[in-house]
């Protein structure tokens, strides 16, 4: 009798220890049909939800709004810096139909998922000056012809290159094709000062950055990852040409061996340390690489150009954030006004003064004062005008995981690029099927 009870207690105890394993899963209920478009009623306090603001400009913008609208104050809810953590908290808020989060700052690639799940409302397009924004950027905010968010910032990839080395090697213009880039590298590498340098690098670690780089390569070779309906097109010669550019570059040493561990910061450090002739990078690196305090060895020795492609200028992916309105939120009339205010040209100009980013308004790329601070702006505009947003599918998480799996296997030589693309095509057909 005694032993049995002890055993029972012990077993129960073992069970309790095991139970802690089952905590990661939340619950989810069904969402009610989304509110009919056009019913944006109610005024009062709302919240603005975004990742941690490292520049300090967001609160300044909110303060200005709050001063003008004392009865419709906006509170800044700061989420973690990690985008996955932000997305998860936003989804949780939407799934429990909470009104805690009103206006969401969505990563451009989440917009489709949030719209398809009806976690965010369809917005009246005529309320916003979308015509003055760059078209590819507006594209990231739409789903099936409807506007679900308003672009607040954007981001596009550019080719950073060493002006000093190119000039010394007798090259006048930065390359526009991959072949030109490789030829330029061969010339530059003959220079004594280019000893030990690698030709090119992007972000090839197995993470979101790899999807960006692979999508850019495929698009720059004239291919498509997924079409407007979410169907994959990776079994094409163009897609193969795109992936092959990266695979061959890794194999023939065009990119350094360790580039398959590079995220943005690793690639930036390599470029700033003078290890690379060319690098694919976002605009945020520009002011950092131009710093004359000794942290960058390439200050004053680099320039930017649109990304190269197979037969001509390539196509960048797009980053950036769009403002969306939570379907379960209150005071939607205020929220709509606030989205309009936050994304307006004046506020973008203000934020840009303190932190490098890509504005969404075409006019800001020509603004003389801004161009003086950020000489990359005209190049960035060209890059964004040619940009193709990353695949817009409602299961973006699965898509990017599949792309990373296939591309990384090809980059590390585990699979041939043909096999990797074949597997990817099959993997994407299944989860994305409607």
């Amino acid at each position: 009798m005694k032993t049995r009870t002890t055993r029972a207690v012990r077993s129960a105890c073992a069970g309790l220890l095991g139970l802690t394993a089952v905590t990661a899963c939340g619950t989810s209920g069904g969402a009610p049909p989304a509110a009919k478009a056009g019913t944006f009623e109610g005024r009062g306090p709302i919240t603005y939800v975004a990742g941690k603001d490292t520049t300090g400009t967001v609160q300044a913008v909110l303060d200005r709004w709050n001063k003008a609208h004392p009865d419709e104050k906006v509170t800044f809810v700061q989420l973690p810096t990690d985008p996955d953590a932000q997305r998860q908290q936003m989804i949780q808020n939407a799934e429990i139909k909470s009104d805690a989060f009103t206006v969401l700052s969505l990563d451009a690639v989440w917009t489709t998922e949030f719209a398809a799940h009806r976690w965010v409302d369809r917005l009246p397009a005529d309320r916003f000056p979308l015509g003055r924004m760059l078209d590819p950027i507006v594209g990231t905010a739409t789903y099936r012809g409807g506007l679900y968010a308003v672009p607040a910032t954007s981001d596009g990839g550019m080719l950073y290159y060493r002006t000093d080395l190119l000039r010394r090697a007798g090259i006048a213009e930065p390359p526009t094709t991959w072949a030109e880039m490789k030829a330029d590298c061969a010339k530059v590498k003959k220079l004594p000062e280019a000893h030990g340098m690698s030709c090119y690098a992007g972000q090839f670690q197995k993470y979101e950055g790899l999807t960006v780089n692979v999508a850019e390569a495929v698009n720059s070779a004239g291919g498509t990852v997924t079409d407007a309906r979410g169907r994959p097109h990776l079994d094409t010669p163009q897609a193969k040409a795109g992936l092959d550019f990266l695979v061959d570059a890794v194999r023939d040493g065009t990119v350094p061996k360790e580039a398959i561990t590079y995220q943005e910061e690793d690639a930036r450090q390599a470029f700033q340390a003078g290890k690379l002739i060319f690098e694919r990078q976002w605009p945020y690196m520009y002011p950092l690489a131009a710093k004359k305090d000794g942290s960058s060895k390439v200050a004053g020795k680099f320039g930017v150009a649109p990304l190269p492609g197979l037969h001509g200028p390539g196509a960048s992916s797009l980053g950036g954030h769009n403002l969306a309105l939570t379907a379960s939120a209150k005071n939607k009339a205020t929220a709509l006004d606030f989205i309009e205010f936050f994304t307006n040209e004046e506020n973008q100009r203000f934020s840009l003064k303190y932190a490098p980013a890509a504005p969404t308004y075409a006019s800001l790329y020509q603004d003389p004062a801004l161009v003086k601070t950020y000489p990359y702006l005209p190049t960035l505009k060209r890059s964004i005008l040619h940009a193709v947003p990353r695949p817009r599918v409602f299961r973006y998480g699965d898509l990017t995981a599949a792309v990373q799996r296939a591309a990384y296997a090809a980059l590390t030589g585990e699979k041939s690029s043909v096999q990797a693309l074949k597997d990817l095509q099959r993997a994407l057909r299944h989860p994305m099927a409607e």
Partner: protein, 343 residues
């Protein structure tokens, strides 16, 4: 296991000392009256309530959730369905079909990482405990410094080791050969094992140290008089007497290692097949709004962890409940009757 190997020697105190003292000890307190029983029930009810809310309820919800599938997209409207379809045990059956390869990969990764890390941590932890147990100058400092890795949050450990295992990091500088630790492959597993052992061996060390400290010096003294050498004393006195503490340490480490998540996630990366554990798989499903499969994986992990815990308790007799406090009391009385051990 150890008990059968040492039949004559330092007799596990629990078994030996029971008989002579039994009559006196066995007398139970006066039978509880209905009133005190009610009071007792009342007094434990808050605990039970809290356990029910934080342990039982989430478990039941997870079980229920694991029976639901994934919401589909309605091709006509372009919107995702409102509710998740009931799929019964399909999420569990899925591990046996084509898509199940990811589950089994995660399962073997989890098992491999658990076995290797716990083994290494036990060996190193015991060695640490023996060192910390020694009386020498600066012992307090050594004890404190050994515990530092354990005190560092795992996420920080992950970042720290990511720098160490960086392509230009110190690990490569030391071995004089460039290994890309954070890429796919066996080296990624090695990186996780090294970081995890570094972090949690001190935990084993600490628990074993506590076990060592209750072994009375007289036992060793008597053994030394009987001519037992260092190794013999370790095998026949230290190990059997420290076994209860050691088993608890190993059990806790095993259960912890089976749920490993943050270290591979941060050190190597979220999408790396080489180090994807069951927890990471469940998290990935949940993050992609597939709560059904996520719950199913979590439940499977729970069952796995539960079975292992049960095996420990049943087969190895790990004393996680403190055995109603009796053996602990007896152990404390031991010093007064050392002849029972030295016999």
């Amino acid at each position: 296991m150890a008990e059968t190997q040492t039949p004559a020697r330092p007799a596990p105190p629990a078994a030996r000392s029971e008989r002579p003292t039994a009559p006196a000890r066995r007398r139970r307190p006066p039978r509880a009256t209905a009133g005190t029983a009610r009071l007792a029930a009342l007094l434990v009810s808050p605990t039970l309530l809290v356990l029910g809310v934080v342990v039982l309820y989430p478990t039941i919800v997870a079980l229920q959730q694991s029976l639901y599938g994934t919401r589909r997209l309605d091709p006509k409207t372009g919107f995702v369905e409102d509710s998740e379809p009931f799929v019964g045990l399909q999420n569990f059956a899925a591990i046996f079909d084509e898509a199940g390869s990811r589950f089994w990969n995660a399962f073997w990764n989890t098992t491999f990482l658990t076995v290797t890390t716990v083994l290494l941590e036990t060996l190193i932890g015991v060695a640490m405990a023996l060192i910390m147990h020694r009386a020498f100058r600066g012992r307090a400092l050594v004890r404190a410094s050994i515990l530092i890795p354990w005190a560092i949050p795992t996420a920080v450990t992950g970042l720290l080791w990511r720098w160490i295992f960086h392509s230009d990091g110190i690990a490569n500088a030391l071995i004089g050969h460039q290994v890309l630790w954070t890429t796919e492959g066996f080296h990624a597993k090695v990186a996780v094992i090294v970081a995890d052992v570094w972090k949690t061996a001190p935990f084993v060390g600490l628990l074993v140290l506590a076990g060592l400290q209750v072994i009375p010096d007289e036992v060793y003294e008597a053994a030394r008089i009987d001519g037992a050498g260092v190794l013999r004393r370790f095998r026949h006195i230290t190990l059997p007497l420290v076994k209860p503490a050691l088993l608890v340490a190993v059990l806790f480490r095993t259960l912890d290692a089976l749920r490993m998540f943050d270290l591979p996630y941060i050190l190597i990366g979220a999408q790396k097949t080489s180090v994807e554990t069951l927890s990471m798989l469940a998290q990935d499903q949940a993050a992609n709004v597939r709560f059904g499969p996520a719950s199913a994986y979590a439940v499977l992990l729970f069952v796995y962890v539960f079975l292992i815990a049960l095996a420990f308790v049943r087969l190895l007799g790990a004393d996680i409940v403190g055995d109603d406090g009796k053996s602990a009391r007896r152990r404390r009385r031991l010093p007064r009757r050392p002849q029972g051990v030295a016999a």
